[in-house]
Symmetry: C2
Subunit: 194 residues, 2 copies
Amino acid sequence: MPTAAGPRRRADAERNIARIVSAARESLGTDPHASIDDIAKAAGVGRMTLYGHFRNRAELVEAALAEALRAGEEALSAVDLGGDAQDALTRLLDSSWALVVESMSLLAAAQGTLPVGRIRELHAAPAQRVEELIRRGQDEGAFRTDLPITWLVSVVHHVMKGAAEENRAKRLKTEDVAHVVTATVLSILAAPHA
Amino acid sequence: MPTAAGPRRRADAERNIARIVSAARESLGTDPHASIDDIAKAAGVGRMTLYGHFRNRAELVEAALAEALRAGEEALSAVDLGGDAQDALTRLLDSSWALVVESMSLLAAAQGTLPVGRIRELHAAPAQRVEELIRRGQDEGAFRTDLPITWLVSVVHHVMKGAAEENRAKRLKTEDVAHVVTATVLSILAAPHA
DNA sequence: CATAAGTCGTACTCCGATGTACGACTTCCA
DNA sequence: TGGAAGTCGTACATCGGAGTACGACTTATG
C-alpha cells in the first residue's frame, strides 16, 4: 500500500524501492521463476538491499503486482466509457490488452506465491470497471443477458490472456491483437438479434 | 510411444508403468509441482521403481501428457462430427471440456518442463479435429471467416481453459460449464448474419 | 525351480534458491 | 560534519527436490 505513508525513508531508499518494484515487474513479467537475485541485479542493487525492503519473495511479488495493477488503473481510468456500450468496450479493450501482455507472467508468479484471495482483491478495481460497462450494455439491450455476468467478465479476461499467449508464441502478430480481441469479445457479448 | 514395442517387459513391470503414468496424470492434473516422490507414492510404488522406468521428470511428464491426450483422442474419436456444423461443434465441446478440466494443470507442468514444440506436436491431433470442423462450417457459411483460423482454433481452447479455471475456483458450477462453453464458443464462431 | 527381471529401502551427492548474520563502507540530511 | 540510515559483499545455514549407487529382497516366467 503506497498510501500507508510508512516511516519516512531516505530519498535514496525510496528511489531504490521504486527501482526494485519496477525491476520485479519487468523480470517476473518475462519469467515467473525469476529469482530474487535476478531481480536485484536487474534493479542494479545488491540482494541485501532488496531484503532490507522486502522481507521475502511473497512480499516482493505482491508489491510488483499491486504496482502493475495500480499503473493499469491509471491508464484505464483515462478511457472514456460513455456513449455506445460497444464502442466504449472497444476503447477499453484497446487500452487493456497490452497491459495483460505485459503482466501475464507476473500474474502467474503471483498465483504461485500469493493466497488466491489476495490476488482477487487486487483485481477488484479493473474487474469492476468491466462489469459495470457490461451491465450498462445489458440495460441498453446491446449485450446479452443469458449468461452469468461473472462469466462474461471473466471470459473477457481469458480471451485477452489467450491472445497474449498466442502473441508471445508468435502465432498472432502484435498488430493484429487489438482487432482480434475486440472482434472476439464483441461477438461473445453481443445480444442475439434474432 | 506405446507403439514403440520396446523390449519385452515382465507383466508386473508393465502394470507398474501403467499405474505410474496414471498416478502422474492425476497428481500433476491437480498440482503441477507434484514431486516425483508424490507421484511414486500415489502409484503405490517406490521411487526407485519409478526411476527404473523413467530416466527423469521430463520423461515422466511427457508420458503422462501423451497418455492424457491419447485417452482424449479415444473419447473424441467417438463423437459424431457429421450433420449441421454448429450441432457437431456442440457435441464436440460437450465431450471435450471435462478433459480440459482434468488435464489443465498437467499441461501447465508440461509447459514448465517440455520443449514447446513437443507440446504442440502432442496436441496436433485434437487441434486438427477442431480445425477441420471449423473449416467445414466455414465452407457451409455457418462460421465466420473474418478472423484467422489459427486464432479461432486456439480461442476455443482458451475458452475451455478459462471455464475450467472458473470451475476450479468455484465460480462456475460444474453443471453449468457445458452450456456456458458452448454458448460462448458458438457466439464467437457464428457467421455474422447481418 | 532356477534365474533373469524387477522392486525398493537407505543413504548418499548435487543443485539452486531462500533467507540470515555480520560488518565495513557510503550517503543522505539535520 | 557527525551520526543515523541505508548499501551491499561475503559467508553461511537451510530446505526441498532431482538423480545416483548399492545391494538385498521378491516374483514372474521359461
